[in-house]
Symmetry: C2
Subunit: 346 residues, 2 copies
């Protein structure tokens, strides 16, 4: 172990630490007034993602304010769909809106032809961040996992029951397999470029993995993410990769047993003692405070933090939320959380 | 064991069967043309729930068509909130809309004063069903679990992140505890009356249990449902009670260990081999086909059914979905499913 390793890297390597590293999903976002200021100046949400100067600025805002141990590239999982040639937009209060893929013909219009050119500004943001971040802060690059991105591409946006995406999965198996394969290839290349631009750790978000039956979860969440890890590690053998297969419940065991992920990010439903006994011996863990506790603050927050620290503790653990920060979160509660984690509350 | 026991009761008692009993959550519903006909004649959705003749009719429709082993009372989990004095409505395409509870003062307006009078038509529906159902069909009564019903009462409808309900849970602990206690009492009484009207099995739906951190899940899903079971069994010691704590993942272990539920209904994310090894030795199971497989039909459906039957099999098992039937489901796929399960597909 090199003395110079940053705290997050040391946690991923299995060192016993005084207190775990902390960063929060969606730590750059609407709960911060300075974010809302930059966002208003940027034009559309995608304009912000593709503007290296502004995307760097919003990534740095929470680091300046809270001194998190990691900064995560400000971007969106759907830039991959956008860069493959699908029309992607974001509507206030509605979230992402895509021109949904209807069939294999729509799918055939997509491709890697202009992929890296399109994503050039993202790679530039990564480079700028690597230069601008404090030396103790780890830079995390990220992408959406194939099933989650595919679900938006087929549904055309958020979904309640994923009926269109699953109608591909079950009824257009070849088209669905082709889409997943395209996303595995695109996502692998995208992440490799992020590493080359300066990302030190990667995270894959499979936000909708928990909507799948277990067998489909193995086929369409575990397998594609495992392939991406293999592809990225073929070029960068040492790169740590964290996976967030949200909502998979006991299926977290499958991901732990796969033996390829550097860490698993846990949603808040995962029982802490179970995670400690069944998962942590095999893989580092990240999580899993209920984001609504960060809205509540006070005693409830202190209790929740202590509960997690007592169980998942000081080794192979990164403190985070079970899902992203919500806009109503008071920034002073975030400051309080960082203090609690560093003091080892509980 | 009495020879006269119905198939569903025999499964709950742990008998080894040739094939498992089958019924489906939301088996009476919009996917059936005859339901849409009755629904159109009924007025509002709640009018249908409170009309014993029509509610009986829609409950019987899927039994006539498919010969399921159980009929579940046609009603809605929110009639309890309605009967406690909260204004509840349903809007097409939007779901339930309630006059949300803002604070303890709103809560103090609710009470059990007119509760049973209000729910009289539901009890009458149960009586009619018991008289009208084929002798081999088990009649299931049901209610929502306290956390799930409370979340609608505080949020005023469906929610994405349960921020209002959790702001009570974390910041208005006394009001929240009072609401849960009221719902435990009301739900216990409601279920006792359903048994007295003729329900042979009860099911509690905790549809949003999976949104809770594990510790909160124990406090606000496991504890209240355990109390309801105790209250109902104090009057009807033999009544089987199935719980559906949707999305709790590895938390299903807690419910199995509680030792009070007759069966646990599994959502589709639960790994079958894990459920067989960790849960089924302790409790009967129900589930967990992805409802979208029933939309897809064909080979994918056959494979999914075989997969479940091979693992959860012939003992302590009730075939069902992992969530309710969706409106796009072709009725002929449901008929095919019943055939597959009875033939032991796979």
């Amino acid at each position: 172990m090199k003395k110079a390793d940053k705290l997050l890297i040391r946690a991923l390597k299995g060192e016993t630490l005084k207190s775990p590293p902390i960063w929060l999903m969606r730590q750059a976002g609407r709960y911060l007034p300075e974010y809302r200021g930059t966002r208003a100046a940027a034009g559309s949400f995608l304009d912000l993602c593709y503007n290296p100067m502004l995307a760097t600025e919003v990534t740095l805002q929470p680091i300046r304010r809270f001194g998190f141990d990691a900064a995560i590239l400000f971007s969106d999982i759907l830039v991959v769909a956008d860069a493959l040639g699908q029309k992607v937009g974001f509507e206030e209060g509605r979230g992402p809106v895509l021109e949904a893929l209807k069939d294999g013909k729509d799918l055939a219009q997509l491709g890697l032809g202009k992929f890296h050119q399109h994503l050039g500004p993202v790679y530039e943001t990564v480079s700028r961040l690597r230069a601008d971040l404090p030396k103790e802060t780890t830079l995390i690059g990220f992408a959406g996992a194939p099933w989650t991105v595919a679900s938006y591409m087929i549904e055309g946006g958020s979904s309640r029951d994923f009926s269109k995406a699953k109608s591909w999965m079950y009824g257009r198996q070849q088209d669905f397999a082709a889409l997943i394969a395209l996303l595995v290839e695109a996502t692998s290349q995208y992440l490799i470029q992020q590493v080359e631009a300066g990302a030190e750790v990667l995270q894959l978000f499979d936000s909708w993995a928990g909507t799948l039956a277990h067998n489909d979860m193995r086929l369409f969440s575990l397998e594609p993410t495992r392939q991406i890890v293999a592809n990225v590690r073929a070029v960068h053998p040492e790169i740590p990769i964290i996976l967030f297969p949200r909502g998979v419940g006991a299926g977290y065991l499958d991901f732990a047993e796969a033996g390829v992920f550097s860490a698993l990010s846990l949603d808040q439903s995962v029982p802490l003692a179970w995670a400690r006994d069944q998962l942590q011996p095999r893989v580092a863990l990240q999580g899993n405070l209920d984001p609504q506790l960060l809205v509540a603050g006070g005693r409830a927050l202190r209790f929740g933090v202590g509960h997690i620290l007592n169980r998942l503790g000081k080794k192979r653990f990164i403190f985070n939320l079970g899902h992203g920060i919500v806009p109503e979160t008071p920034p002073e509660h975030v400051a309080e959380l960082v203090k609690l984690v560093r003091e080892g509350a509980g």
